[in-house]
């Protein structure tokens, strides 16, 4: 095997390329990215970039010297538009074909666009995924300006917190009654919602934006389902994301809300999925999952590099997912898999004091632990409790023994 092609030049694709080199692969690695920028990090976009703590160039994932040392055939600013598995070739938007012996697919996700009237071309309508998105939004956030955030997920609430701290007048519109409840449960959802309410963010829950109002191509506000008008200078659409799999249509690979992969992150022989785009079977939890977390992209990139180089002795990719979010001065960290949880219990600390660990049950197992304001040793220790597939009934015992 001489040629590995990695499609997607963000954290996951870069991690795969780096791990291939670290594990001794000295063949050709082509790294293809549709953005013109060298690999950069996305979590700071809604944090340090938005609030001006960082300059744009600080999001670079690696120095130019480190990138050079990888000896990559780096193709930036060109999207992959097709895959021919028979000829083992990736077709690029510029018409060139890139042949491969093994392929890593790490094309990520893009923001979901709503079908809102007025949403597409008005100045002041934003999404947040790329550095350009973040710089465009940042340029418009100033004290006294009015921002409506559509969607109170993690991106929406992070931006709301940052913008509010910058002196922007922030309204968040969210259709469900308790924001984030589907992700972190009602109790923790209410806690996070209260953080914003306490600081004066205007939360409109249980309602939807029906229309983005514009005047001469500029946003002037949004109209809610009950016909209330919220005036605004800017609107951020933060209503989830969509995996970038369209370019794989007709390739023979299975697409089902992401690229479907097995427990080795393989989508087909010598074809692997990495990061936000990959829906793989995680044997630790016994379920297929697609994880849009920064650390998963790196871990899966490394795991795929190993399996690609050891096709006869692949290792299952069985991580405990990890994510964090910054909301005002609080850092929320979570180990595990929250989706579909059936019960949530505070097992350490106190929710009212803003210092706690919440444990999550799916079936008879602990499947996740979410920590706010706890010491790092405590947070890390819960990772191993989740990794051990601890029975739920033992979780209080874990707490008592500490």
């Amino acid at each position: 095997m001489n040629r590995v092609v990695v499609v997607g030049a963000s954290a996951g694709g870069l991690a795969a390329a780096e791990a291939l080199r670290r594990q001794g692969f000295d063949g050709e690695i082509t790294l293809i990215g549709d953005e013109r920028l060298a690999p950069y990090d996305r979590p700071p976009l809604s944090k340090q970039i938005l609030d001006h703590r960082w300059q744009a160039d600080q999001v670079a994932l690696r120095s130019q010297a480190d990138l050079d040392a990888l000896k990559l055939d780096l193709r930036l600013g060109v999207a992959a538009v097709g895959l021919d598995q028979g000829r083992r070739s990736v077709e690029l938007a510029d018409g060139t074909g890139v042949p491969y012996d093994a392929l890593v697919i790490a094309t990520g996700v893009r923001p979901r666009r709503t079908s809102l009237a007025g949403a597409d071309d008005a100045a002041g309508v934003h999404v947040l995924r790329t550095l350009d998105d973040a710089l465009g939004l940042r340029a418009r956030l100033r004290p006294g300006r009015r921002l409506v955030v559509v969607g109170a997920g993690f991106v929406g609430t992070e931006v709301a917190a940052v913008a509010h701290t910058m002196g922007v007048d922030v309204t968040v519109v969210e259709p469900v009654p308790v924001p984030l409840a589907h992700a972190v449960g009602r109790k923790v959802g209410l806690f996070l919602t209260q953080l914003h309410a306490d600081r004066g963010v205007d939360l409109r829950t249980g309602t939807t934006v029906e229309e983005i109002l514009t005047d001469a191509g500029e946003v002037t506000g949004v109209k809610l389902a009950d016909a209330t008008i919220v005036p605004a200078d800017d609107v951020l659409l933060a209503v989830g994301s969509v995996p970038n799999t369209e370019w794989l249509a007709g390739s023979g690979l299975t697409i089902d809300d992401g690229l479907v992969c097995d427990e080795f992150s393989a989508a087909a022989p010598r074809v692997y999925g990495v990061g936000d785009v990959a829906r793989w079977h995680n044997p630790l939890f016994g379920t297929a999952m697609r994880i849009e977390h920064r650390t998963n992209a790196a871990e899966q990139g490394m795991a795929v590099a190993y399996n690609l180089l050891h096709p006869d002795s692949p290792r299952p990719f069985a991580p405990v997912p990890y994510f964090w979010t910054d909301q005002y001065e609080l850092k929320i960290q979570c180990y595990g898999y929250l989706r579909g949880h059936e019960e949530c219990a505070v097992v350490e600390g106190d929710l009212d004091e803003g210092r706690f660990v919440a444990a999550y049950r799916t079936g008879d197992r602990l499947t996740a632990a979410l920590a706010v304001g706890m010491p790092p040793k405590t947070v890390r220790s819960w990772r191993s409790v989740v990794a051990a597939r601890t029975e739920w009934s033992a979780v209080t015992g874990v707490h008592a023994a500490r």
Partner: protein, 65 residues
């Protein structure tokens, strides 16, 4: 091998401590990385490379000698 950490970049995820507990720790108050040993022995190098690779903030830089 020479390790440097960029503290302002650190996001307190603790992934480095999980990967290389003899080389990295975290401050109790805010979880920011503590570098226990900036020139670890060869037997720890692979762990350290893994820690640098999975750091979600790209805050760990290695100079391989």
């Amino acid at each position: 091998m020479k390790i440097t950490v960029d503290e302002p970049k650190c996001v307190s995820g603790g992934q480095c401590v999980l990967a290389a507990p003899e080389v990295f720790d975290q401050r109790d108050e805010d979880g920011v990385v503590i570098l226990l040993n900036d020139a670890p022995e060869a037997s720890l190098h692979e762990q350290v490379r893994e820690a640098a690779a999975i750091c979600p903030a790209a805050a760990i830089t290695l100079q391989e000698s």
